[in-house]
Symmetry: C2
Subunit: 446 residues, 2 copies
């Protein structure tokens, strides 16, 4: 790729697979992050930050082969082998071991940050994207598994998302299913195939299972029948219905009992337990999950995919330490959530958060324009001063484009009497020589 230069100018261009966020989208993102951060804090999760750049070796050991290929890896000024992080979980493991003596366990952290993967460019997939993770490290208690569900629920509810489903499953259930059919050595390949269910459909899952696991179509069909089980009644009823599976083996027993305990912890809370549904097909491709797994879909946008996923992993820090520290957590897919919320009309798309534009018709009135804006701000009304003295048409069209609700115009008469002309940008109604006090009232009541 060569940079095209015209008249000795550099063409202004983001890298392929990278994008800018314009004010509308960026403000929407900020407001989402503000809401979810406050939810995290209310549960005692605290923010941490790790660098964007790490020793490559810190990152590659735990990543899959695919991720290694996609790593932005290079030599720095000191000839160190470094790479941009591809997720926030591997740096978390490094962080915990490095600061072990400064951290109290259980350690609850959230992290919001960008990660980098040199994937093939596709529509809607970017090589730099934002992750928003919250995790509970250093406790095996199912209380944590339940709380992560509660945080997912609280976060999406706080964002005014009403209709969503949190799908849960347990890796021990999936392990138990494969064990039951004598396929304990093929669990990993099996999970990878099941993970593709949404993309390829159940018939193709069955075919792939036959081919890759070298099993009969009957066995494949039996597996598919079990993984197709989805809860659509009260959880207590559901676990009664599937209790026969507990007799198959210990893995299934442990998995089913864990999920039931988790739902029991939540059953008495202001938590619509029906949102939370067991589905035996949820696998989560990543190798490191060992317990509960979560996925969250928006009911009205089935094709969007999961907006919040996660699970329990047994040994987060194994590359760095012999101390076993397990954890459970989830990650909100901010970019996908923005797309979904925009589609559902749940996000304000505004080019400015200021409600008011103050326009001065002469340089000499500019100090008064700033004064008017300040009076508004002191009443918590966001207000902007148009900095130039131009044709009124130009400044009003700026207000129209940006979406200010009111323009306050200061001409000679207004300046002399310390008043403003108030123009309602929606209705077009205009009232002249209004005192600041009345202007304030009018805007407050609008």
């Amino acid at each position: 790729m060569v940079i095209i230069m015209i008249d000795n100018l550099i063409v202004a261009k983001t890298l392929s697979g990278f994008k800018d966020r314009l004010p509308k989208e960026c403000a929407a993102k900020a407001s989402i992050l503000d809401v979810v951060s406050n939810v995290f804090l209310s549960y005692g999760f605290m923010p941490i930050e790790t660098p964007h750049l790490e020793y490559a070796q810190t990152l590659v050991r735990q990543g899959s082969d695919e991720i290694q290929k996609e790593l932005y890896r290079f030599r720095d000024h000191g000839n160190r082998d470094v790479a941009l992080r591809f997720d926030l979980t591997v740096p978390l493991a490094r962080f915990i071991v490095q600061h072990r003596h400064e951290l109290d366990m259980p350690f609850k952290r959230y992290a919001i940050g960008n990660v980098f993967r040199g994937e093939r460019a596709q529509k809607g997939r970017y090589r730099e994207f934002t992750q928003c993770d919250f995790d509970f490290i250093g406790s095996n208690s199912l209380s944590c598994d339940a709380e992560i569900l509660q945080v997912i629920y609280s976060s999406l509810t706080a964002l005014n998302l009403q209709e969503f489903s949190i799908w849960i499953n347990h890796r021990q259930i999936l392990n138990g299913i494969f064990q039951h059919f004598g396929l304990q050595d093929n669990i990993e390949s099996g999970l990878r195939i099941i993970d593709k269910l949404d993309k390829i459909g159940i018939d193709n899952v069955s075919l792939e299972l036959q081919r890759e696991l070298n099993i009969s179509s009957n066995v494949a069909q039996d597996i598919c029948n079990i993984i197709s089980i989805k809860q659509n009644n009260h959880y207590e009823e559901f676990f009664k219905e599937v209790s026969y599976l507990k007799d198959y083996n210990d893995s299934l027993k442990i998995g089913l009992e864990s999920l039931e305990s988790v739902l029991h912890i939540l059953s008495d809370l202001e938590f619509d337990i029906s949102v939370c549904r067991v589905s035996f097909s949820i696998a989560r491709g990543l190798g490191y999950y060992t317990g509960i797994v979560y996925e969250t879909t928006l009911n009205r946008l089935k094709n969007l995919g999961s907006v919040c996923s996660g699970g329990r992993y047994d040994n987060l820090t194994q590359s760095f330490s012999s101390e076993r520290l397990s954890g459970v957590g989830a990650s909100i897919g901010i970019d996908r959530l923005i797309v979904g919320m925009l589609e559902l009309g749940l996000l304000d798309e505004r080019s400015t958060m200021a409600r008011v534009l103050v326009i001065s018709l002469h340089m000499d009135y500019l100090p008064f324009a700033h004064k008017v804006a300040e009076v508004l701000r002191q009443s918590n009304i966001r207000a902007e001063v148009y900095p130039d003295v131009t044709k009124i048409k130009k400044s009003l069209s700026y207000a129209n484009n940006k979406g200010h609700e009111f323009s306050l115009i200061i001409g000679e008469e207004e300046f002399k009497t310390m008043t403003v002309t108030v123009k309602n940008m929606t209705s077009g109604m205009q009232r002249e020589n209004i005192s600041l006090l009345n202007t304030l009232q009018m805007i407050k009541q609008a």
Copy 2:
């Protein structure tokens, strides 16, 4: 640098010059950014985001030689010559030209993000650090110059920083001084020397001016006398005192009149105009400033250096477009501000933002513990459930270390009567079998 491995473990280690932020510092940073973002929004500034990675050519053209040496530059998967951004201003220029047709001018943006410079590692200097910029693009009006000052003032005041000084100067004043002494061809070297005043002192500035500009000690002394002028009275008086400089040349006249106009715009606002002081020695090393320049120091921490600096630049987008777009803005040095505010005791240093820890003495009481925490959260009290059932000493010491104000303990008696034992973690006082309603009252009133 070789990664040391012990027992096949990777040593958990951040790269030299990079650092993690632990919860205390990260929460403090988040609260600072929250405060200043709200100030920016209240003035009509809107957030934008640009990628961390850009075509190297986008970045190198505008950077100084030094910055080019410090650039993290490498070949990506597509053999593109790419680099991590070293500031947020050059990407802003690229952004504006790329999205020119989507943006209304004047364009007011803020951006908060990390930037990367491979500087020699020094105490307190990091190779990745956070910038927080706000800029006003596409207007030459002094109204913008004044508003940037107002935003600096409002931001620091909103952060409870009382005693600070915003030092202002104008590049035309500095240009005019050098012109007056026939040194119009040496302005750039001259500015670089003056910029070192705080580090090397006025005597060394004089010596360097003599040596590098090849001037007599008398001329150097005359220059030093002028640049040592600092306002310490009302601005109207000050500008009368220095009005003789306007006769030296047009540059000095324009510079002085601009600053006076800016202060005039602000003079009628709830802005302590005495905070804002003219100092003819403020140069700001960077080449691209052409008008007003700002620096901000905390009066009680003179050695900290400037916590917010900026200025007006005439042609931001010149590498990318023949359209001239000028701008004015400033950048809050978040990392330096955190250091300063910690030193002044203005930041909460807490390992948790949760006020309450709920402790269950038996697995069976965990659902009730979650219920209690939820009741607190519904009254906007941040509350955390201790997920494990352990010795009470262990969970109380967790609360002590993290800084929870209250522990609520649920044993058999409390579980049966739906009450809690409330322990005030500061006083150590403990009260048993308190109803949830009374607990809520107690914590609210604390």
